[in-house]
């Protein structure tokens, strides 16, 4: 208004006259007016983004990891429950798109290098050390392995300091003993209806892993300090993509698509030190499938309940990194059922979807326990392994988590992808007859042993 402006001019001019020292005007210590930003409570896109920023700052500034997790999962809204063990067709493609994972068939190169060094008779301490990642390592490890082989063959017993060669025969006998005890020697009642997996394969897997881990703990100090969980709980909650709310009082608003995985592996091994990375953080090994449909077409259903992030034990546990998980497929997903319904190609899909979903949930929860989240992406890759089995057929998976930033804003400039290496399912044995295991497959056992022997380079 004109009068106000005139009064202000007069006022400022009066001040100017009363100044005795007409020096340079002192720079203002702070801006005279507060910054002009969007409102917090208005119903506008700017206000929504400001609220989101304030929330992100709150989570960034949280003092402890528990507080961060609590704030991260504070708002409860309907979310899709993703089941790792599912009968949905082609579920592994969908899960890969939800978790931004690239599937690479076969095992990562370091596992192949370790296999070659172990297979060379007379593995010496050099070969016994952790196999290093990278392509040049196999050649380097091969040479000492091959050179030491004739030398070790001459000396019958290595010195007390050197690690003796891996005795596959003894491990095979351990595995066979576990299998025979559960399936043949121990007198059990008939299995409950549709609970065949709890009768024999479940206890067999527990026995096998616990005895193998115990006997290999002398070789792998990480296993000696590990923690073995039976039937633990692994949960993870994340946002990926956007959708428009369809009905209800929030109709028409753009919401992130929320997912929650609640997994119960049969067995898991947690360790105090992280497994080494397989490939560098920014590597690109393939493409992530893009699916144009809504997740509910998989089928996936929404529920609203507590947003849990849990690796198997609380944040205070020193064993906060994951080593290996073991999953047992339930009776609902057994092979004969798929063959009967003429869906043979879906058998592998079951193993793959279980591996990808469970490992993503576990590694991402481990990353959150270290303070990373979707706005504060991981600075080092998190690696974990998993074995999915139905008692006879074993499939091996190795997962490297490179990014947690999967929400709609953070994924825009994110070139990183998570990587999952996986094998097809192979049988460990053919049949158990009269106290004998027929057709025992050493390769599967070897792969399992290599998984258990995996450890960081320093150890």
């Amino acid at each position: 208004m004109a009068s106000l402006r005139v009064r202000r001019l007069l006022g400022s001019s009066r001040r100017w006259f009363s100044e005795t020292v007409p020096g340079a005007p002192s720079p203002p210590a702070s801006p005279l007016y507060p910054p002009v930003v969007a409102s917090i409570t208005a119903k506008s896109k700017a206000a929504k983004s400001r609220r989101l920023q304030r929330f992100n700052q709150r989570v960034h500034a949280a003092a402890t990891v528990e507080e961060k997790l609590r704030l991260y999962g504070k708002l409860q809204r309907p979310k899709y429950t993703v089941y790792p063990q599912t009968f949905a067709l082609n579920a592994d493609r969908w899960y890969r798109s939800f978790t931004r994972t690239v599937l690479v068939p076969g095992m990562p190169p370091r596992a192949a290098a370790a296999k070659r060094t172990v297979a060379a008779a007379g593995a010496t301490p050099e070969a016994g050390r952790a196999p290093e990642p990278g392509v040049e390592a196999p050649a380097a490890a091969e040479a000492p392995g091959a050179a030491e082989a004739p030398g070790a063959a001459k000396t019958p017993e290595p010195a007390a300091g050197a690690a003796p060669s891996l005795d596959i025969g003894e491990l095979r006998s351990l595995a066979c003993d576990a299998l025979l005890q559960e399936s043949f020697y121990q007198k059990k009642k008939r299995p409950f209806l549709y609970r065949d997996q709890d009768h024999t394969p479940g206890p067999f897997l527990t026995q096998l892993v616990s005895t193998l881990a115990a006997s290999l703990s002398g070789r792998n100090p990480l296993l000696a300090a590990s923690s073995l969980d039976l039937n633990p709980e692994v949960n993870y909650y994340w946002h990926h993509g956007e959708e428009v709310v369809v009905h209800g009082h929030r109709k028409g608003r753009v919401d992130p698509v929320r997912f929650q995985i609640d997994d119960n592996p049969h067995l898991q091994i947690r360790v105090p030190k992280q497994l080494p990375e397989v490939v560098p953080l920014e590597s690109d090994l393939g493409d992530v499938p893009v699916i144009d449909h809504k997740p509910s077409k998989l089928p996936l259903f929404k529920k609203q309940y507590e947003n849990k992030v849990f690796i198997g034990s609380k944040v205070a546990d020193p064993c906060c990194y994951g080593h290996t998980q073991f999953h047992l497929l339930p009776d609902k997903l057994k092979r004969e059922r798929f063959i009967r319904e003429r869906l043979e190609d879906q058998i592998e899909v079951v193993y793959r979807s279980n591996g990808i979903a469970s490992l993503f949930a576990w590694t991402a929860a481990q990353a959150m326990y270290q303070g990373f989240w979707s706005e504060a992406d991981v600075t080092r890759p998190f690696v974990s392994q998993a074995v999915v089995t139905d008692g006879k057929y074993f499939a091996f998976f190795c997962y490297q988590l490179n990014t947690l930033a999967l929400t709609a804003e953070t994924i825009k400039n994110n070139p990183r992808k998570n990587i999952c290496w996986g094998t097809d399912s192979k049988p460990l044995y053919d049949v158990v007859e009269d106290g004998n295991v027929k057709g025992f497959n050493d390769e599967v056992l070897l792969q399992l042993v290599l998984f258990l022997l995996n450890r960081p380079k320093e150890l």
């Binding site: 003894e170 351990l174 003993d177 576990a178 005890q181 043949f184 020697y185 121990q186 007198k187 059990k188 206890p203 026995q207 616990s210 005895t211 881990a213 115990a214 006997s215 290999l216 703990s217 002398g218 070789r219 296993l223 000696a224 300090a225 923690s227 073995l228 969980d229 039976l230 633990p232 709980e233 949960n235 849990k308 849990f310 034990s313 609380k314 205070a316 546990d317 020193p318 064993c319 106290g435």
Partner: protein
């Protein structure tokens, strides 16, 4: 009615010795085993079982008792890297035991799920010396006149006398010697759990049943004094209190009241820790009990490990 162990002693013709046998005690005190480093792991393991294992505030006894047991066994098993003969062990869960014997013209039977059984390929060497075994001849079994010793026992009509040789395993099982029995009292409601005295009696009866079945498998069904006594151990816990027991079967001649008796060593009521506080207790804005495990007793864990290693080390 009165302490269960005394009744169980009469039923199994056993003499009680307080404390663990010297062989096991020697393993506990042996510094060469490196039990000190394991103490730290045991502490972590107790914290994991009691505090960290669940996404809720505090795990319940049905969860933490088996988890604590599994973790302790995991630590013990990882010693097999140092002692390869420990690999000759196998755990069997949910195995059923059945054994019958006669005791002064009363036919007694032990049947049921005996918890978790650990078998080994080699038997435990006898713990008591020959003189101690002979000395039990003079020991008089405590009788409870006028109360019949079969009080509080269920009387059933047995049509088939079952003596499952090798407990619940078929012939040819490589791990044929029962080593240790584990009993977990994991019911949440206190009245569903066995009291320590009753738990000790249950441990004694089942250890005796396993040893008797093994002895009959090895030496036949005739009642006689055993040349090679059969030793079976037993550990019972409710998640905090541990009961340790070593039972040695010297004779299968159980009809008469005199002669050589069996021996049992019991170390009872060993606390592994005093209390486990999940959330700190605050009274009038002052923390009276901080969160965490307090009063950890490493000796109890050492005894657990010594019983596990008994027979191989």
């Amino acid at each position: 009615v009165f302490p269960g162990v005394r009744q169980a002693q009469w039923l199994t013709k056993t003499k009680l010795v307080e404390g663990l046998p010297p062989a096991v005690q020697g393993t506990v005190d042996n510094p060469a085993l490196g039990l000190q480093e394991l103490e730290e792991r045991a502490r972590h393991v107790v914290s994991h079982a009691r505090l960290w294992d669940t996404a809720e505030a505090a795990p319940r006894r049905e969860k933490y008792c088996p988890v604590l047991f599994e973790n302790l066994i995991h630590i013990c098993r990882s010693m097999s890297g140092k002692y390869p003969s420990l690999r000759k062990r196998m755990l069997a869960r949910n195995c059923r035991i059945a054994a019958t014997w006669e005791r002064e013209s009363i036919l007694l039977q032990v049947r049921g799920l005996s918890g978790i059984l650990m078998n080994s390929m080699t038997p435990i060497p006898p713990v008591a010396s020959k003189e101690e075994i002979l000395a039990t001849k003079e020991h008089v079994l405590e009788t409870f006149y006028p109360i019949a010793p079969t009080i509080d026992l269920q009387e059933v009509n047995v049509y088939k006398e079952l003596n499952d040789t090798g407990q619940c395993f078929r012939d040819g099982y490589p791990y044929s010697h029962p080593h240790t029995l584990f009993f977990l009292e994991s019911a949440s409601v206190r009245t569903d759990r066995f009291r320590p005295e009753q738990l000790r009696a249950k441990m004694l009866m089942f250890a005796f049943g396993n040893a008797l079945a093994k002895a009959k498998a090895l030496h036949g069904n005739d009642p006689k004094v055993l040349e090679q006594p059969v030793v079976v151990q037993s550990i019972g816990t409710d998640g905090q209190l541990f009961q340790f027991m070593v039972f040695q079967l010297n004779t299968t001649d159980l009809v008469s009241n005199d002669g050589i008796k069996n021996l049992v060593w019991i170390d009872s009521d060993q606390n592994l820790y005093e209390r486990a506080q999940c959330v700190p207790e605050v009274k009038k804005r002052v923390v009276t009990k901080p969160a965490g495990i307090s009063g950890f007793q490493p000796d109890t864990f050492k005894k657990f490990l010594a019983l596990y290693l008994h027979g191989t080390v």
